[in-house]
């Protein structure tokens, strides 16, 4: 059997690109049309080659050209950038190359959860921490649809410990950098505070007022996750360090001190009962003192469960992001599309790896005389449902574009 080492060899990558990578589907998804448009021909691709060589500003006339180039250069992965005012490959000869369009993208990575993760750290991920990702997907998916009215969402597993969201609505493609920054500002609650690891709180409310409505809605979604992830599985407050972090949120010094006293006698008391202790303290207060504490509890829930977005990825049109269906260089897993409705049951460990896929190809040897086309190759592997998902999505984008063409008024605003 092929070991993981062999699976990530250049030969294996080449076979993957030649026989399995769904160039046609990716083309349809980016191009929104059967015939190549600017959205494809002026689109930047960037390759990561062996020995950390990074090649930018590549562009292609059609899907076959991309495939030919990928097979020639055999990159360990490639990334997708914006649609420019000219063909990126003419960069040296054109006067100006400005990014015009770009899917609105979000990147959520497990490393941003490291300060509150207790199960694993850094590059590792287990089923327990994936739950945070699924909470994030729920909140973000809902917010993008409800508040911004975007409907063309593609969620892609990043291959190891994160997830990407690509939004392809025509209005989303046209957003300027300032508008993207505004979306990120609206979405962000927990922000990385710079070099010193750790995250800082964002001031969520004006003065002593209640949470703004979008966050109130998010809170309702997140509450069950808070109980099951933070209080039970991760037991985030189950150590001295953990509960000290919790106490930092409490504005009332007396309450914090009394809790610290109780907990320092039994530092490993389960988080759930510590949370109950806090609730009891809050209940004991009279009305006027209770409000800031209630707010603090809401802040805690948001801090521990709200999606942690990598803001820089979303803010600028010219940021590159790894293409779907690439192989993650460390895990060998394919970056497959994910259905947000089934996110709770999604298990990153069951995503096909390149080794597994090539094995599946070898098993069903080609029958004599039968043509071996990439499509039928994919059909024989466990990549098939994911490619099917991408194709469906691309088709819906094409339908949307056709409708918009027939009835331009609907998009006049």
């Amino acid at each position: 059997m092929a070991s993981t080492m062999d699976a990530l060899s250049p030969e294996a990558m080449l076979t993957f690109y030649r026989r399995l990578y769904p160039f046609k589907s990716v083309y349809g998804w980016l191009n929104h049309d059967h015939m190549p448009t600017r959205q494809w021909t002026h689109r930047e691709f960037a390759f990561t080659l062996a020995g950390d060589v990074y090649v930018r500003y590549k562009s292609y006339n059609n899907a076959d050209e991309l495939k030919a180039d990928v097979c020639k250069l055999n990159p360990s992965r490639f990334e997708i950038g914006p649609v420019y005012s000219a063909r990126p490959r003419d960069k040296k000869t054109v006067r100006q190359l400005t990014p015009l369009q770009r899917e609105l993208v979000f990147d959520i990575d497990m490393t941003d959860y490291d300060p509150i993760r207790t199960c694993c750290s850094e590059a590792n991920i287990c089923k327990k921490c994936w739950k945070w990702i699924s909470a994030a997907v729920k909140v973000l998916d809902e917010s993008v649809r409800e508040h911004y009215g975007y409907e063309q969402l593609l969620w892609v597993y990043s291959g190891r410990r994160g997830i990407h969201l690509w939004i392809s609505d025509p209005e989303a493609l046209d957003l300027t950098d300032a508008q993207r920054k505004a979306v990120v500002g609206w979405m962000n609650v927990v922000v990385a505070s710079g070099q010193n690891e750790g995250m800082k709180k964002v001031n969520l409310r004006a003065g002593t007022k209640a949470l703004p409505p979008p966050l109130q809605a998010a809170l309702d979604t997140l509450l069950p996750y808070f109980t099951s992830i933070v209080l039970e599985e991760q037991d985030c407050f189950g150590s001295e360090k953990g509960y000290e972090a919790l106490l930092e949120f409490i504005p009332d010094v007396k309450v914090a001190d009394s809790l610290r006293k109780t907990w320092s006698a039994d530092p490993t008391k389960p988080s759930a009962s510590k949370w109950l202790d806090l609730k009891a303290e809050v209940k004991a207060k009279d009305r006027s003192q209770r409000a800031p504490l209630m707010h603090a509890m809401e802040d805690i829930i948001l801090h521990y469960t709200y999606p942690r977005i990598d803001a820089e990825v979303s803010k600028h049109r010219n940021h590159l992001l790894k293409a779907p269906f690439c192989i993650h260089p460390k895990t060998g897993r394919v970056c497959v599309p994910v259905d947000p409705r089934g996110i709770d049951s999604f298990d990153p460990e069951r995503v096909p790896t390149i080794g597994q896929l090539l094995g599946e190809l070898d098993e069903g040897m080609v029958v004599e005389g039968e043509e071996s086309s990439p499509d039928s190759d994919v059909q024989r592997t466990s990549l098939a449902p994911y490619v099917e998902m991408m194709n469906k999505y691309a088709t819906s984008l094409m339908d949307l574009k056709r409708k918009a063409k027939q009835d331009p008024d609907t998009l006049a605003w």
Partner: protein, 494 residues
């Protein structure tokens, strides 16, 4: 823009092309202007230039307010004062002013500057920023009725939210509604009218979560309406500037305008308001050193090491950490206040965003003034420290430059102060004898001979031991001889 076929005497101007007004007899019924119609009247070449220069003064004040990190209220006061001097624009209620004349000048000067500042992306960006600030100031200062009339004269493509819809989202809308106290807020909310716009038109409100969003629509209360208007203004101006840039090469022009336009944009690039305000007499007040004066001072009073740092800063729009530290402390001791220092560095680092500057540099500048961190009063480096091994590229030029480079650098730096090629052997002999501070002293004597310094006089009878000693004495000498010698020290006085 000024095609002869379209020219009409101003007095007969068709009022319909300006925003039509029901009651006003004025050509320009509103004080505020979106500048969507170009001026189609005859102007003299003098008027063309002077009105643009005057508007430029106001814009310069806006830019320097931003560079000095003034608060919005402080900036407004400063901008208002400058506008009062150069670009008066009265309310409709001012009966005895020549309202049309003022507004015509405002209109014309805006369009002249558009021509001057459409040429590069950087200029366009700065122009839009300054102009929209000016618009905001005027908008906020406008009398309510005037402003209403102006707003009614334009269509901002907003959809009013009907009472039913307002009722439907009442809880969400109300929770985002601002007001002084609960009862007042409630009453004001009942009266409030809402508009619906695509959220992309009010990104600033979205970013701060100040509006209710529903499927891509932002529900904006009329008290936040200004955000839509400012957005619209900026947007239109950006587009218009790009269009002008594309059409400019085809300007039907007889070589009278281009030099004027070049001159105007040059002033804006240099970014120093002293060039624009030269005759105002600002910056004369005693000892205070202003950010705009440093460039001039560096030519006249700085020793070689600091002059080199200054030139490098101007050339690259950047200096590395130790360079900033060394030069910054020198300027501090020279007498540059913290506000001016921040303004100076902000202007010099012209290629980075405000955001980056505030995050990465402001703190260090304040730190060197003892306002942050351990709050130490750091002294400027003396010659020994600058000459010490390890100071690398920021060391003493007499020591670190190779002889050929040093000679050409000396000539190019100091020839305007009277240093001649014949003086070089003398200096180089000192350099070769490793007597760097003596070489520097000799240069001081030569370059200050017009102030009566003779060979052997040194800096007040001493050798150069500190760059600040060099600069301070140089300034004293110039000040002492200024009256008699009619010094060209522009930056020091009018």
């Amino acid at each position: 823009m000024f095609k002869s076929t379209e020219r009409k005497p101003f007095q007969q101007q068709d009022t319909a092309i300006y925003q039509a007004s029901t009651s006003s007899h004025l050509q320009y019924p509103h004080r505020l202007n979106f500048y969507d119609k170009p001026p189609l009247f005859d102007v003299t070449i003098e008027e063309f230039e002077t009105c643009a220069l005057e508007r430029l003064r106001v814009l310069a004040e806006i830019e320097s307010s931003a560079a000095r990190n003034r608060t919005w209220e402080e900036s407004k006061t400063a901008i208002r004062a400058q506008a009062e001097k150069h670009l008066v624009l009265k309310q409709n209620s001012a009966k005895y002013d020549d309202l049309d004349g003022q507004r015509r000048k405002d209109h014309l000067s805006h369009f002249v500057l558009r021509l001057a500042f459409c040429r590069s992306e950087d200029l366009r960006r700065r122009f839009v920023k300054a102009e929209s600030t000016l618009f905001k100031v005027r908008y906020e200062d406008d009398i309510l009725t005037d402003r209403e009339a102006f707003l009614n004269s334009r269509n901002f493509n907003t959809i009013p939210v009907l009472p039913d819809e307002k009722k439907k989202y009442e809880s969400q809308l109300y929770s985002l509604y601002y007001g002084k106290n609960e009862t007042e807020r409630k009453a004001a909310f009942e009266r409030e009218k809402y508009f619906k716009v695509k959220w992309t038109r009010v990104p600033d409100l979205v970013e701060k979560r100040r509006v209710f969003l529903n499927r891509g629509w932002a529900y904006v209360p009329s008290q936040e309406q200004s955000s839509i208007i400012f957005g619209e203004y900026e947007n239109q101006l950006e587009k218009a500037l790009e269009l002008t840039a594309r059409l400019l090469p085809r300007l039907d022009e007889d070589t009278r305008l281009i030099p004027i336009l070049n001159n105007l944009s040059q002033g804006f690039i240099a970014g120093s308001s002293s060039e624009w305000m030269g005759e105002n007499g600002e910056g004369t007040c005693g000892e205070e050193i202003r950010a705009e004066m440093i460039d001039d001072m560096s030519k006249r009073h700085f020793p070689m090491c600091m002059k080199t740092l200054h030139d490098r800063l101007q050339r690259d729009n950047h200096l590395k950490h130790f360079g900033r530290l060394q030069y910054g402390l020198f300027l501090k001791v020279l007498g540059l206040s913290i506000e001016e220092a921040v303004a100076f560095w902000r202007k010099s680092f012209s290629r980075i965003t405000d955001d980056k500057f505030n995050k990465e540099y402001r703190y260090n500048i304040r730190h060197s003034y003892g306002l942050e961190g351990k709050r130490a009063n750091y002294p400027a480096k003396n010659c020994l420290q600058i000459m010490a091994p390890g100071s690398g590229e920021y060391g003493c030029p007499y020591k670190t430059y190779n002889p050929d480079n040093l000679q050409s650098a000396l000539l190019s730096t100091y020839s305007h102060q009277g240093l001649k090629a014949a003086d070089l052997p003398d200096i180089m002999q000192l350099v070769n004898a490793n007597s760097f501070h003596t070489a520097c002293t000799r240069v001081f004597e030569i370059t200050h001979s017009s102030c009566g310094v003779k060979k052997g006089d040194g800096v007040n009878g001493e050798h150069v031991t500190h760059p600040n000693q060099y600069a301070a004495h140089s300034r004293e000498l110039y000040k002492a001889t200024k009256g008699a010698a009619e010094s060209e020290d522009v930056a020091m006085g009018p």
